[in-house]
C-alpha cells in the first residue's frame, strides 16, 4: 500500500492514470482486500489506520483535494471508526477529541 503511495506521489503521469482508472492501476500492487477498498474509496482515515506513513499519506490527501484541517480530521475519524493505527511509527498519541493544530 505504501509502495503505491510512494509511486503516485512522485509521478505526475501515474497521477493522471489514477484519475482516469484507479482500480486498474491498483491491480499492479500487492494489496489486502481492506487496503484495496480503502484506496479505491479514498478513505484517508482507514489508510492511516492500516499503517500508511504520514509523509506519504499527506500528499495523497492533497492529491485527493483534501484541505489540511480535513486531512487531520479524516485521520482522527479513522481511529474513531477502526481503532488504533495497526503498523508503523505514525500512530496517534493524543485523545480523540484533542485539537493540537490550532484549527
Amino acid at each position: 500500500m505504501q509502495k503505491f503511495l510512494f509511486d503516485i506521489n512522485r509521478d505526475p503521469e501515474l497521477q493522471r492514470q489514477c484519475r482516469a482508472d484507479l482500480p486498474a492501476i491498483l491491480k499492479r500492487y500487492e494489496l489486502s482486500g481492506e487496503e484495496r477498498g480503502a484506496l479505491e474509496a479514498g478513505d484517508i482515515g482507514l489508510i492511516y489506520v492500516l499503517g500508511a506513513n504520514g509523509q506519504l499519506l499527506m500528499h495523497y490527501a492533497a492529491f485527493l483535494g483534501m484541505p489540511w484541517a480535513d486531512y487531520l480530521g479524516a485521520m482522527r475519524s479513522g481511529v474513531t471508526r477502526h481503532g488504533p493505527v495497526r503498523a508503523g511509527v505514525y500512530s496517534m498519541t493524543t485523545r480523540l477529541d484533542e485539537k493540537v493544530a490550532d484549527l
Binding site: F6, N53, Q55, L72, M92, T94, A101
Partner: protein
C-alpha cells in the same frame, strides 16, 4: 579552506505551505530570523552549501533504503511536492558533482555511504533553501540521513557522519557552508500535527549549543519516540552538524508554531578547531 558556516533550521512544509494560516506576528518574527541566517550564510561567502536533511520518501523508499546518502549530481530539481501545496515554485538548483565526488571518496574512509546522481529535493531541503538562498544560485550538495523508515542508523553513526564531513571539508579548497535541518520534537502528518514538546526541545538545544556529545548521543529512539514523536528521529541531522562544526551554538529563534507543526528553530554554530 573548510567550513565557513554551520547552522540548523526547521523544514516543516507548513512553514511555507500553510504560511497564511499562522499568526502573523509569530510568522514574521520566525521568517526574520530565518532570513537573517541566510544573510549570515551569504556573509561567510561560501562557494557551496552542504545540506544535511532527512527526506520523506522523495527519492528513497523501503525497497532500498540507504542509512546515509550524498548527492553527486550536476543539478537538482525541487520541490518534488505540488509547488502550490508547498508554496515554493519548482526550480533547478545547481550542484557541484566534482566536489561531491571528492567529499564522498574522503568520507567513505570512515562511513559507508550511498551516492545518488539523481535526486529530487522535497520540503526537507526546499523549505530551508527558500529562506537561505532564495535565488537558488548557490550550488548545493544534499546529504540524507534516513530518519523515516526504521531501522535507523544509531546516533553515534550520525556523529561519525558529521566527523567524516568535517574531515572531507578540511581537505577541500572550497569555502563550504553546512546546514542541518530536522526535528526537533514533532508529530508531523499525524492527527497530532501541531503537538510539540517544548521542554524536550529546549533541553536538546541546550545540549546542542554546548556541543555536549555524550548528552546528545544518550538519547534512545524509544525515548525519543515517546517524548518527541517520530519527527524527533530527525535529531540525527542536527547532531551531525555539531560533530562537523565542533563549535558552540547560538539559538537565534525557537518557538512552537502549531500550524507549522514544529518548534520553529534557527541556530548557528561557530566552527571549532
Amino acid at each position: 579552506m573548510s567550513l565557513v558556516f554551520a547552522g540548523i533550521c526547521s523544514h516543516a512544509p507548513g512553514i511555507t505551505g500553510r504560511a497564511q494560516m499562522a499568526d502573523q506576528a509569530m510568522r514574521e518574527e520566525f521568517y526574520r530570523a530565518y532570513h537573517g541566517m541566510g544573510e549570515a550564510l551569504a556573509a561567510a561567502q561560501p562557494e557551496v552549501l552542504i545540506i544535511v536533511a532527512a527526506e520523506h520518501f522523495a527519492n528513497f523508499f523501503m525497497n532500498n533504503m540507504p542509512a546515509f546518502a550524498v548527492g553527486m549530481a550536476g543539478s537538482y530539481e525541487g520541490p518534488i511536492e505540488d509547488p502550490q501545496w508547498l508554496g515554493i515554485p519548482r526550480v533547478t538548483i545547481p550542484g557541484n558533482a566534482p566536489l561531491s565526488l571528492r567529499l564522498i571518496r574522503d568520507m567513505m574512509q570512515t562511513v559507508d555511504l550511498s551516492y545518488a546522481e539523481e535526486w529530487k529535493f522535497d520540503h526537507g531541503v526546499m523549505v530551508p533553501l527558500s529562506f537561505l538562498t532564495p535565488r537558488y544560485d548557490l550550488p548545493v550538495i544534499p546529504v540524507n540521513i534516513n530518519c523515516q523508515g526504521p531501522p535507523l542508523a544509531p546516533l553515534h553513526r550520525a556523529w561519525a557522519l558529521g566527523e567524516a564531513l568535517r574531515r572531507a571539508a578540511d581537505s577541500s579548497p572550497e569555502r563550504i557552508a553546512l546546514v542541518g535541518t530536522g526535528g526537533i520534537s514533532h508529530w508531523p502528518a499525524t492527527p497530532d500535527s501541531g503537538r510539540v514538546n517544548e521542554p524536550w526541545d529546549r533541553e536538546f538545544l541546550r545540549r546542542w549549543q554546548s556541543n555536549d556529545k555524550a548528552a546528545m548521543l544518550s538519547y534512545t529512539d524509544e525515548g525519543t519516540y515517546r517524548e518527541a514523536g517520530q519527527g524527533g528521529f530527525e535529531i540525527r541531522t542536527l547532531i551531525s552538524i555539531a560533530a562537523a562544526a565542533r563549535g558552540q551554538g547560538r539559538v537565534q529563534h525557537y518557538r512552537p508554531i502549531p500550524i507549522f507543526a514544529v518548534g520553529c528553530t534557527v541556530a548557528t554554530m561557530s566552527i571549532g578547531a
